[in-house]
């Protein structure tokens, strides 16, 4: 297992290099140099800012040297200073907003796994039943619905009309005066809509995948064998079939991580959640390039880590992988 883990970690190195190269290319996409745009957009920007930007991007040096020194700074988590008025280091701005984004994404992931697997298994085991048909409709609608629109509708329903759930931020105004337990309830109430909505697309996709994976497995000979030797249907389905059907699903889970992280821009903006996605949106609107670059790199690294976790879980679940 350790050998497998080391192999995966080494495999990540070229990916990391590739990620930084693509980010670097994106950074140089802008017509003209980054300093031109920044100074054009901002009438207050004088020669001093332009000079600082030039030295930060080292635009006077050849491209490969610019790249190398950018990566060197990145390696020690120096992502530069934000262009916004607060002039704070980019890395501080991102790190203080990262926990809430990661919390929401992990909760969504738990919801996706917890709901999609039972839905997929039940629809496969009872193929063409009423449940299977209803879940097929749910899957198609869930996959096709613009989630930001559904967010608007749910805000009108639960926030404005029924008044059950708060529709912005992560804490109520009187949060400081609440006892710890009620504070937790308050946080949960704020997180319900964002978590459910960001899970929806992945949930629909994974249920469908789980269903087809399960359908494939229960047609296999070893399932017939398990039935033939007189095991109960429960044991056959949940012990023999489920474990095998879950394997390909783990890979799909890993692949759904970028979508989940990308969605945080939309939901954090709609629900005014002070996370990394909202920071990204504000930085894009303000053309705060150092922050945009920083979040782009961190988003990709988070995806990479998520995929590593998926790979390791796969290896834990399937002995064939770690031996070979």
């Amino acid at each position: 297992m350790l050998k497998y883990l080391i192999k995966r970690l080494i495999f990540m190195v070229p990916l990391l290099i590739g990620i930084t190269i693509i980010c670097f290319v994106v950074m140089h996409l802008a017509p003209g140099s980054p300093t031109d745009i920044q100074t054009q957009m901002n009438p207050k920007a004088g020669a001093e800012l332009k000079e600082r930007l030039r030295s930060m991007y080292e635009l006077d040096k050849p491209l490969y040297q610019q790249y190398i020194s950018w990566v060197k700074r990145l390696a020690v988590l120096d992502m530069g200073i934000s262009f916004s008025l607060d002039r704070r280091p980019v890395v501080d701005k991102i790190l203080e907003r990262l926990p809430i984004t990661i919390l929401i994404n992990i909760l969504s992931m738990i919801l996706i796994i917890g709901a999609a697997i039972p839905i997929g298994v039940l629809s496969a085991v009872h193929q063409d039943s009423l449940f299977d048909k209803i879940s097929a409709v749910f899957v198609f609608v869930g996959f096709s619905i613009p989630t930001f629109w559904l967010a608007l509708l749910l805000m009108i329903l639960f926030g404005v009309n029924l008044g059950w759930l708060p529709i912005s931020g992560i804490r109520s105004l009187n949060y400081e005066y609440l006892p710890p337990f009620q504070g937790l309830i308050d946080l949960i109430k704020h997180l319900i809509l964002p978590v459910v909505l960001s899970a929806l697309t992945g949930l629909a996709g994974l249920s469908r995948y789980m269903r087809s994976s399960m359908l494939e497995v229960i047609r296999q000979d070893y399932i017939t064998t398990a039935r033939a030797k007189g095991l109960s249907e429960m044991t056959v389905i949940y012990k023999h079939a489920l474990r095998n059907a879950l394997l390909p699903v783990i890979t799909i889970l890993g692949l759904s991580i970028p979508g989940l992280i990308g969605g945080s821009v939309i939901f954090e903006t709609i629900f005014a959640i002070p996370g990394m996605g909202q920071l990204f949106y504000m930085s894009v609107m303000a053309r705060d390039y150092p922050v945009i670059m920083g979040i782009l790199v961190i988003g990709a690294v988070l995806t990479l880590l998520g995929n590593l976790i998926a790979d390791v879980s796969y290896a834990l679940a399937d002995p064939r992988i770690r031996v070979s």
Binding site: P14, L15, G18, I19, I22, V26, M27, L29, A30, P31, I37, F140, V141, F143, S144, I145, P146, F148, W149, L150, L152, L153, M155, I156, V160, L255, P258, G259, I261, G262, G263, V265, I266, T269, I270, F280, Y281, S283, V284, M285, R287, Y289, I292, M293, I295, L296, G299, A300, T303, L304, N307
Partner: protein, 277 residues
């Protein structure tokens, strides 16, 4: 299209419904100048935010413009973005996938590593970052959505090419002296088109969703050009007083995307089982 059982497709009610939605949308966007009741840009300040009525079936927006007319014209934007973005993704995907699958070895390794790297980026982050550096024009949006959405098609085509290139008909073509480009495009590619067609249909659905989300956030199609996404932005700003601004454009997106998804899945189900994965 080789490998598609049309009989099976036409007996699949869901797929047929999806196909009808897609065709209807084409007709609506084609006939937009003749069927939209008002000029989509016509401002009427005496009719600001008026609810649905017989004059304005879907109500009016914050400038008194007719929402139905704006939605009809907005369907053109959705179709344009959906098709151009997917077209770009398919061209990139076919070329890279065919080259990787056909030549194999280091060419394959290099291209597939590149795919792995691109898949590490949350696509929405990459799109937003690029648009922040460029201008949020409709052409830039189509290019960026296409340029960040080709990886799945590359993988599909590569897998098809790996299994097809060893077949007898490819050997036969090679024996009579056909060159690589001819074998790739004339002999192998037509046999892989069915799965590309499925991926393309689902890709249009995804591109339409992405465009609407970008326009909703104000980074996509810019007003006054009407798009379903930017009508929803006005809906969000007037969420407590004008529900019609939020409801109808969103429904239009849902029905359109659902149509393309049902059509794509329907075609996949009618694929020859030997080609289906």
């Amino acid at each position: 299209m080789r490998g598609v059982s049309w009989h099976k497709f036409f007996t699949n009610k869901m797929a047929l419904a999806g196909g009808i939605v897609v065709v209807l949308l084409f007709i609506i966007s084609l006939l937009a100048p003749w069927i939209s009741p008002y000029d989509p840009g016509e401002i009427n300040l005496r009719m600001v935010l008026s609810p649905p009525s017989s004059n304005h079936l879907f109500g009016t927006d914050q400038l008194g413009r007719d929402v139905l007319s704006r939605m009809i014209w907005g369907s053109r934007i959705s179709l344009k973005v959906g098709f151009v973005a997917t077209g770009i993704a398919i061209v990139i995907g076919i070329i890279l996938g065919a080259v990787a699958g056909y030549y194999g070895k280091w060419v394959d390794i290099t291209i597939m590593r590149f795919v792995d790297i691109m898949l590490c980026f949350p696509a929405f982050f990459l799109i937003l970052a690029v648009i922040a550096f460029l201008e949020p024009s409709i052409w830039n949006i189509m290019i960026v959505i296409g340029a960040t959405g080709w990886m799945g098609i590359t993988r599909l085509i590569r897998a098809d090419f790996i299994s097809l290139k060893e077949r007898d008909f490819v050997q036969a073509a090679r024996t009579i002296g056909a060159g690589d480009p001819r074998i790739i495009f004339v002999h192998i590619l037509p046999n892989a088109m069915a799965s590309v067609f499925v991926a393309a249909t689902l890709g249009v659905a995804g591109a339409i969703l992405t465009e609407s989300a970008l326009s909703f956030l104000g980074i996509g199609v810019q007003p006054p050009t009407p798009s379903w996404g930017n009508i929803l932005t006005a809906g969000k700003d007037n969420i407590d007083i004008a529900w019609w601004l939020s409801l109808y454009p969103g429904l239009a997106i849902l029905i359109t995307v659902l149509g393309y998804n049902l059509l794509g899945e329907g075609i996949r189900d009618s694929l020859d089982p030997r080609l289906r994965r």
